[in-house]
Assembly symmetry: C3
Homo-oligomer: 274 residues x 3
Amino acid sequence: MTTGLIAGVREKNPLVHCITNYVTVNDVANGLLAIGASPVMADAAEEAAVFGGVCDCLYINIGTLNNTKVPAMRLAGEAAAAAGRPIVLDPVGVGATPYRMETAQMLLECLPVTLLRGNASEIKALARAGAGARGVDAAAADIVTEADIAGAADFACALSERLGVVVSFSGAIDIIADASTAYAVRNGVDMMPLVTGSGCVLSALAAAFLGAHAHAPLQATVAAYAVMGLCGELAHANLRPDEGTGSFRARMLDALYHMDDSALQAGMKVAQVR
Amino acid sequence: MTTGLIAGVREKNPLVHCITNYVTVNDVANGLLAIGASPVMADAAEEAAVFGGVCDCLYINIGTLNNTKVPAMRLAGEAAAAAGRPIVLDPVGVGATPYRMETAQMLLECLPVTLLRGNASEIKALARAGAGARGVDAAAADIVTEADIAGAADFACALSERLGVVVSFSGAIDIIADASTAYAVRNGVDMMPLVTGSGCVLSALAAAFLGAHAHAPLQATVAAYAVMGLCGELAHANLRPDEGTGSFRARMLDALYHMDDSALQAGMKVAQVR
Amino acid sequence: MTTGLIAGVREKNPLVHCITNYVTVNDVANGLLAIGASPVMADAAEEAAVFGGVCDCLYINIGTLNNTKVPAMRLAGEAAAAAGRPIVLDPVGVGATPYRMETAQMLLECLPVTLLRGNASEIKALARAGAGARGVDAAAADIVTEADIAGAADFACALSERLGVVVSFSGAIDIIADASTAYAVRNGVDMMPLVTGSGCVLSALAAAFLGAHAHAPLQATVAAYAVMGLCGELAHANLRPDEGTGSFRARMLDALYHMDDSALQAGMKVAQVR
């Protein structure tokens, strides 16, 4: 792993244009600010392309789609593509409805997406190989365990090659892969999925790292996963017995605000698995 | 009161489809996760019916209406009705504008709503019997006090019979009623209305309890009220002198995360009043 | 400075109609509740005018525009104007896209705006005299420092006279001016811009003060700035070493909840600079 990735974000202060859902948008903005990026949210077709063209990374999240956001996603993506800026796509709940699937597929076909990041059910649904998920949470059968890391890595690399994007999916073990190389990240705690937006913030962090390190998308994504998981660990370790997900949410942001490369190096649990 | 209601929610992990306002949607999602439900937010007509048909309960909140959300509410509701799933309607600020009143009445007419839950001014406005409220907070004259519990219970039961739904309204004393039976819940603290979304989260909790206990809507709703009020009490008891509504908001979620049936049985202040 | 301004807000409980962005809307609502105002959020053309006509102050924030919000802003503004209610305009990111600039200019032309409040880059962009800002944060060159207070005050007074509104902009030093008088407020801490919505909440507080003290818009705005900055100072002073922006966000709201006129008088750093 390259070192100095967090310092690079804090130094560059990358502008991350987010077209994301309204459920967790506040956490996304605060997460970006805490890691040293500059968020801008704008999802009207009238202006999406402007921010797409000047941002350092575009982050598209399909959590709450509608017929004004979808055109804005495409316009922003085309402007980002024209300017050579990386694009992160988080296909929230993509297996749950045709509208989400069609939108995600349209975006993957029309835009040079750099990173596809979701939970295992979402990524598998996109690969047309997944078990069903009713909502936006991952189905238990899709979550990567120690026993199937090699298979998950193979799947991720093959999908990366087919789509031409970095592929990653979250779970107790996170997998991040390009066509030839895969990493497993084992940071994180069970409480994280019980705070809405943990995944959305992780995707935003990946966008921040990509915005500062566009030449190294695999390493940037791995760093984002390790940082997010480590912040969950630090936040959880600080909880008093009567505290729960409300305090945990604030503490994750606290940990993100204090995160630096030495803490990351000391705490990250990253292994190359292919 | 039936026991084991919270365990039932945590075991079933009901999928609650929320079409709600963007002001408090994050609290709604985190509240549902904390009690053990699985939230999904989707308010586009293109996909609302899909989630309406597969959810365990549909939660409709009219806090921030627009011309894409209203059709989605109806489509989701029709799908939920066809699938036999319960529907919760929170008519936020219904007395304040014709648009809200017409939407709430349309939903009540077109959908087999299971539970109508709002503050006293909202429910009275819907019953065409209320004092005016300028915004979305309850008018003082409408809040139930010890002196008028019997009258409030009569009103709630009559409205329940007329509309064919469980009726409930919040206040210092909460009233929950079907056509023949009414409960008063005296849990809660004064600070709760000073955190936006206390009512929205309460409605969402009711949806979670209904999603797990569809056969007992009255008991499920009473449980949601007692849980929410009790969480407010626990959160308030933990505040340091310099803490206020910001910390209180997080602590309510903490309390919700730890809530179980034994804590509920020990702390709930529920009385059958008719 | 007039005294008793906070008590005036808490006594009147002004209804503040907010048409604002979905990123920070929750903080705006909780901030208004904490200072003693009553927030209502409604951005559909179908009902915006109703709330505009009955509110004590209208707050318009262009952070996330779309083609349903913009007409609602105008309708609400016309209704507020007809009822003689003050209007606050926060031109978030106005220099970044033509859509924002055209919308802000349309609002300034069509509505009798009482207070224009943004960061220095936004206000300068509106005055067609600014350095560029890529996103929604202020450009470094635009932030007011001790060396250029006099120039900033002259600029603000001239702009106030030209537009016929109270003009204010945030920064390490805040400037608030009408055509003849300018104040500098030096409250606040560096961490505040690292929480999204600090500026949006400040504008909302100004709306609350204007809603209770419509006859004294300059003093009301100065009070809002001092209150917000002082809450930042109190929140920051209470942070433990491992706490960051997550806890800080909650603590600012805590401080706002406890704020009163004696604390304001003791802590405000306000100077008339012209």
